[in-house]
Symmetry: C2
């Protein structure tokens, strides 16, 4: 299969086209027509080369992992094996939720290269849509579907222990990406780190307060342990609004290179946390043309609907498969509807609190850690940006500490409103 016999970064498009030509699984997607290719390198992430290739008879995307974090340079090496785990996750999640995961055409382990479906216009990154103040009426429906199906079907609610442990073992190999998350989400924001940054000088005191908050550090330790130790399901691992492409009718989840068997709440929390960040950023984008009020209301509604639909679909899958192979809750033990509802309620409540915990950790790290979100970064006025960020940060700190007191997503939405 390998078109090249050893790893070579596809650092220019001529090389990339040469690769496609020598790879039938890819060239066939372009109808073997190479004369009028429109090629764009769009790797706006930090870890990869990403080429969009559009011809007269077809299109595709080429994504190649390179062995360091691109935005920082070769000083921060990062295994290119992550492309293997990204492919495994795309294929597994794609199998479980084909409507919301792009198809993989080809994977080359030597070249750390994935060929996959090009998500054609008007698909854009969800984060950019939210920054533009756009709304997506089907988003909650689609994302709850994606999360319920991928998380349920890769957990012990659906797997046998044998299948589960074998998959867990394989994804232990994606340890370098897990370590990166541990560092940038659970560690750096809570200590002095050369990579941390924030809107200075406005948030200097806020960043320091995070580093000196014993209660917060106690909570984040628990979340980090869960992230490191609990192999609950095959999670995406980086499910923020930059990993979702949308149109008014389509929602596609991309970039699961951080995938591994971890706690479900890390995915759900990452996603909801980024919606909350978007909410708090809207004030900074409001102007005379658009006060963003409708958009903000839609975001709050979407947060509520996403969790509630997720819970409903997840429990529906559980009920559907309660007599299946899953070994967590054997039907001979959980053999009456009262008991089944009891364990389901406990499971979903625990998952809800995990979600709020991980969501708040993801919010905090985007304000005082290394990687920020465009939602805030694109607010030009630093003072105005800092005001938005501070509200989000304070909300996140409260949420991490008080998460076990929240009974429903409606309570969370009310608390977000209270910040105003």
């Amino acid at each position: 299969m390998a078109a090249f016999s050893e790893f070579r970064p596809l650092s220019d498009s001529a090389l990339m086209v040469e690769y496609i030509k020598s790879t039938p699984a890819l060239s066939s997607k372009l109808g073997d027509q190479f004369d009028d290719l429109d090629i764009k390198e769009v790797g706006d992430g930090n870890l990869n080369f990403v080429y969009i290739v559009v011809g007269s008879s077809g299109s595709l995307v080429i994504k190649q992992a390179i062995p360091y974090i691109r935005c920082i340079g070769e000083s921060w090496p990062m295994t290119k094996e992550r492309a293997y785990f990204e492919t495994r996750a795309l294929r597994e999640h794609g199998h479980l939720c084909p409507d919301h995961v792009p198809e993989v055409y080809h994977f080359d382990r030597t070249m750390c290269l994935i060929g996959m479906r090009y998500l054609e216009p008007p698909h854009i990154i969800l984060r950019k849509g939210l920054i533009a103040g756009l709304v997506y009426p089907l988003l909650a429906e689609h994302m709850s579907e994606y999360m319920a199906h991928t998380l349920f079907h890769t957990s012990l609610l659906y797997h046998t222990t044998t299948d589960h442990k074998s998959a867990v073992a394989e994804f232990c190999g994606n340890v370098e990406l897990c370590r990166l998350t541990e560092q940038v989400v659970f560690s750096d924001p809570y200590k002095v780190s050369q990579y941390n940054r924030w809107t200075t000088p406005y948030l200097d005191g806020d960043a320091k307060a995070v580093r000196e908050d014993n209660t917060l550090k106690l909570e984040v330790a628990e979340l980090k342990s869960m992230f490191c130790e609990r192999a609950q399901a095959l999670i995406h691992g980086d499910l923020h609004t930059g990993s979702v492409m949308v149109t008014q009718v389509s929602t596609q989840v991309i970039d699961p290179e951080f995938a591994f068997y971890g706690p479900m709440g890390f995915d759900v929390g990452a996603y909801l946390g980024n919606l909350i960040l978007s909410f708090f950023s809207q004030e900074g984008h409001a102007n005379e043309e658009n006060d963003r009020k409708d958009c903000k209301e839609w975001i709050l509604r979407t947060i509520g609907e996403t969790w509630n639909l997720f819970e409903m679909k997840f429990v529906a899958l559980w009920n559907k498969h309660k007599e299946g192979y899953g070994e967590a809750y054997l039907p001979a033990i959980y053999n009456n509807s009262e008991l089944l509802q009891l364990v389901q309620r406990k499971f979903m409540t625990d998952l809800f609190h995990d979600t709020l915990g991980f969501g708040s950790a993801k919010m905090i790290r985007r304000i005082v850690g290394v990687a920020h979100v465009e939602d805030f970064e694109s607010i030009q006025d630093a003072s105005r940006r800092a005001d938005c960020e501070r509200k989000a940060l304070n909300f996140a700190k409260m949420l991490m500490k008080e998460r076990r007191k929240f009974q429903s997503i409606e309570d969370v939405v009310l608390a977000i409103r209270d910040v105003q």
Copy 2:
């Protein structure tokens, strides 16, 4: 290394001696003297052939895993690969706590065979000593040492994430033994199962009550999930009083074939739970010669001392290595003694509650599940035995449900006394 080119059960001692003769690492332990060997097959467990070989110039034990559960027969197959994981655990734990783990001389993966130190008389199985009403003044000191060292040093308090995930992945291979535990500890006692038994007819109602106790089933589901999902440390996996050999001055932990990366509380709980079972069995062994009062007091004292010493030693290791490679609590974050004490207190409280939960699960399964303990089985009078078992069972049910309310091991000991 392999003396035999393919797997052969060493079902008679002549074959076993032939094996030793052709294996220098073993024959040298006998001084290459084979004329006056004293050989005993002592596999009183359910899974293996175990030979004690004593000669004029040395001794050793040969343990061979066979591919089914011996007590039930070939109807219940069980991978012989467990010998590999047992050896890995013996060597790892032996490295970490050489005073309390017997030395491995030789391992043969093809033959699923371990050659190891013979624990010479007066070593006996701790369970048998307890049944005889003997006391072991150093036991709490030794077992707390073993548990603190093996659990601390194989956790993320000491490991890097990279080392941890690589070890976790390898031990995922011991899945068949994990499944056996899932079934016999966390599932069978809570449902109708052909393997379950209890002291009938006395405990018929008690066994039924376990199977119909929704609250208990809710709690055991949480414990089972933790057992299946949480890779906290390399645990022994079967740390009952039958896995410990003792003299008045020596304590040796054997038989870690169930070893894998699981929750620390499973080991500590298994051990303490079996001490509690022993306590409740004493009444059934009391007679005119020995009312067992001293022995019972010693067991209660040992339960308290074991946890308290374990906690002290574990925290001491944490403090000693707080600037080490362990990635769970980075010194730059947990950078003041107040905060470090806060996280340590939370960690130990959570571990204490896990310990009580797993301990109670291990007690319950020994009374209404497939494998019983000799502590109770050796009480000849069934009615008297059932009285002891019922007290233990009721205590275990209470402990599983109320475990989060216990603040200290002294509270647990008081609750045990209250049963009287």
